[in-house]
């Protein structure tokens, strides 16, 4: 089994060949599914915990605080302690709640997040599904999550939850559009919807540089719309603490609350990962035209590190937003989408089409 940190294709291939040599095709498939499933579960749990910790530390730094410091060195075990606490908590179901939907909602939210992760390329060869229409899959599946939020708000039989869910519904349905259109802008440039193709197309230069002005606009729009889609501040109307106490998950406790909480952070990761894959070159190293020596040094850093480096950068940007800006009002959030982001986006697609048509990109 050859292990290569630069390219995981050899590793996965050798595992596959080893398994097919000793088992039948069906058994191999089941074993491979299990491996992949467990790997994703582990990744999501650990990265989710890490993101919660990072968020708390980052927000503390913005606020001149230190953040969690007590559990473990520098509070590193704080989120694990929190997670154990959530596991041990009583699961309360409100008496008047719609029991089935109430229990279903958190699973819908978290399953959707898992689905989207499956198409994200972490490194060369480290991608589960590589559809021809990968981008389309991402936009389509990620919008299913809102159903979970709506169900949660409706079934809790709580007015705050209902208001929060309705806000979230209006918000995600609108911002879905901007996310899709800003991705389309890049698809025009790339000429493919396949995610591996998108990454491959950025070998020489990332799309954000290649497409210059329209790509940059698309990136900004994507980040704004993506933040809105993850229900994070300044677009956290669905759980607006000062207005709706906790919004759609007011009535949830214990592990079901943890699912919502984890899903929020996975969604954060997904948006950052999509921004990375589409705009910032995925796992591709930073290359500058003809600086051969520079490019070679950059190539020495493995793709996995490049990917996470960029993802964390984008996540930091979104945390920065959250801890700086006040929250928008529900009508303003829709105004922003329909009066600003959508026209800019449509104009931007035209601009990108012109850029591609006349070959004005780098």
């Amino acid at each position: 089994m050859a292990f290569n940190i630069y390219d995981f294709t050899t590793l996965t291939k050798s595992i596959h060949e080893g398994l097919t040599a000793s088992y039948s095709a069906t058994t191999t498939l089941i074993i491979e599914w299990t491996i992949v499933g467990v790997a994703y579960l582990l990744f999501v749990a650990l990265f989710g915990l890490f993101l919660v910790y990072a968020e708390r530390k980052v927000c503390a730094a913005f606020q001149q605080r230190m953040g969690p410091m007590r559990v473990g060195p520098w509070g590193l075990l704080q989120t694990i302690a929190d997670f154990i606490k959530l596991l041990m908590k009583e699961l309360i179901t409100p008496k008047e709640a719609d029991k089935f939907l109430y229990n279903l909602a958190p699973f819908i939210v978290i399953i959707v997040s898992f689905l989207v992760i499956s198409v994200i390329p972490f490194a060369p060869g480290l991608q589960t599904f590589d559809f021809d229409i990968g981008i389309f899959f991402v936009t389509a599946v990620s919008s299913v999550g809102v159903i979970g939020i709506l169900l949660a708000g409706w079934s809790s039989n709580n007015k705050y939850s209902l208001i929060g869910a309705m806000r979230s519904g209006a918000q995600i349905v609108s911002y879905e559009l901007s996310v899709g259109l800003s991705l389309i802008t890049i698809i025009i440039l790339a000429g493919t919807m396949q995610i591996s193709g998108l990454v491959e197309g950025q070998r020489e230069m990332w799309f954000i540089f290649k497409g210059h002005i329209p790509a940059l606009i698309a990136f900004v729009v994507f980040i704004i719309a993506g933040t809105a889609e993850t229900n994070r501040g300044p677009f956290d109307l669905a759980e607006a603490e000062s207005e709706l106490t906790a919004g759609f998950h007011t009535e949830y406790s214990g592990i079901k609350f943890a699912f919502f909480f984890l899903a929020e952070y996975i969604n954060l990761f997904i948006v950052a990962a999509m921004a990375t894959t589409v705009f910032l070159g995925g796992w591709m190293p930073l290359h500058f035209g003809n600086f051969e020596s520079f490019n070679q040094i950059m190539d020495l850093i493995p793709g996995l590190f490049w990917f996470f480096f960029k993802v964390l950068g984008v996540i930091f940007l979104m945390m920065w937003f959250k801890w700086t800006f006040p929250r928008l009002r529900v009508d303003q959030i829709l105004n922003l989408e329909w009066k600003y982001l959508l026209p800019i986006n449509l104009f931007n697609i035209l601009l990108m089409a012109a850029v591609v048509l006349f070959g004005l990109h780098f």
Binding site: Q63, S242, E243, F325, L328
Partner: protein, 377 residues
Amino acid sequence: MAELKEVMITTDDIKTDEYLVNMGPQHPSTHGVLRLLVQLEGEIVHNVQPHIGYIHSGIEKMTESLSYPQIGHLTDRMDYLSAHMNNEAVALCVENALQIEVPDRVKYIRTIMAELSRLASHQLWWCVMGMDMGALTTFFYGLRDREEILDIFEETCGARLTVNYSIPGGLMFDIHPNFQRDVKAFIKKFRTKLPEYDRLLSGNVIFTERTKGVGFLSREDAIAYGVTGPTARASGFACDLRKHQPYSAYSKVNFNEVLSDVGDTYARYQVRIQEMWESMNIIEQLIDNIPEGDYAMKMKGVIKLPEGEFYQRVESARGEFGVFIVSDGKKNPYRVKFRSPGFSNLFAINHIAKGWKIADLVAIMSTFDLVIPDIDR
């Protein structure tokens, strides 16, 4: 065609029902145990009915069995964010009744302390305002600067919040030797920090969009509802008692009464921010000129007020604070009434918030700067 008309649905037919939401007694934006019974249609607020009394402590009844110096420490616990002003009001009222004139030193120190507590109170208001709007970082920046004022209080008064510093006839202690140095250092530092508040929140496009043109209160309504303080001054009601009925050393300083005639949430916000600048001006004018002298007058062991009714109005951080003492010549008051600014301000909320959204209701309530024990007493 007639059949078609019957099934046609107009927008009047798809009206939603109104529903009631209890905001509070435990709710993040009611700043304590206040319950607002909000009548909503979708996101639109149709009616707000405040229900209070969750932290009613019967201070007015308690004062009837206490002597005059003992009343002071109870007023700390009403509007605990500007406790010094409440102490001062009681002290001034008793001094007026006894017709004694406190030394200039006392007046100066009281004024400086009052302005420091106004600054501290406005800082806390600013952080909470930001938090109500969803900008959580403001909370820590505001508290960071407020902490320095509280340190000054701790050094001189011995307590950070419930100072009980002004007592009838003067002050509890003389100022700490470091007081002037610390206050000057704080003012110098805070002059650089206050523009940061503006950069972080006041100028922010999301913030201005959410506050400008939202929640109007006209001057006439402000007067009619008895709204005072920065909330009323944002509507153009010149009600600054420091200016119009100067007490303590306010007649000796130059400062502007911050007024705005817009009356929306943003105006109320700006008036408070500007008041912080004015407070710093007042402190700077006084801090170097504290006259020498006694910090307290020699008072009798048992203070008895002459028979009669005495009223003292002071400008607290949230508006006009009034102390109404009815004395029957004994050492205990016959009846004490505290006219708290929050009480009158709170009940104007229904008038203002009607027709705005829930988020606006939160923002409007935030600009009222409510302290619930001050309302409930």
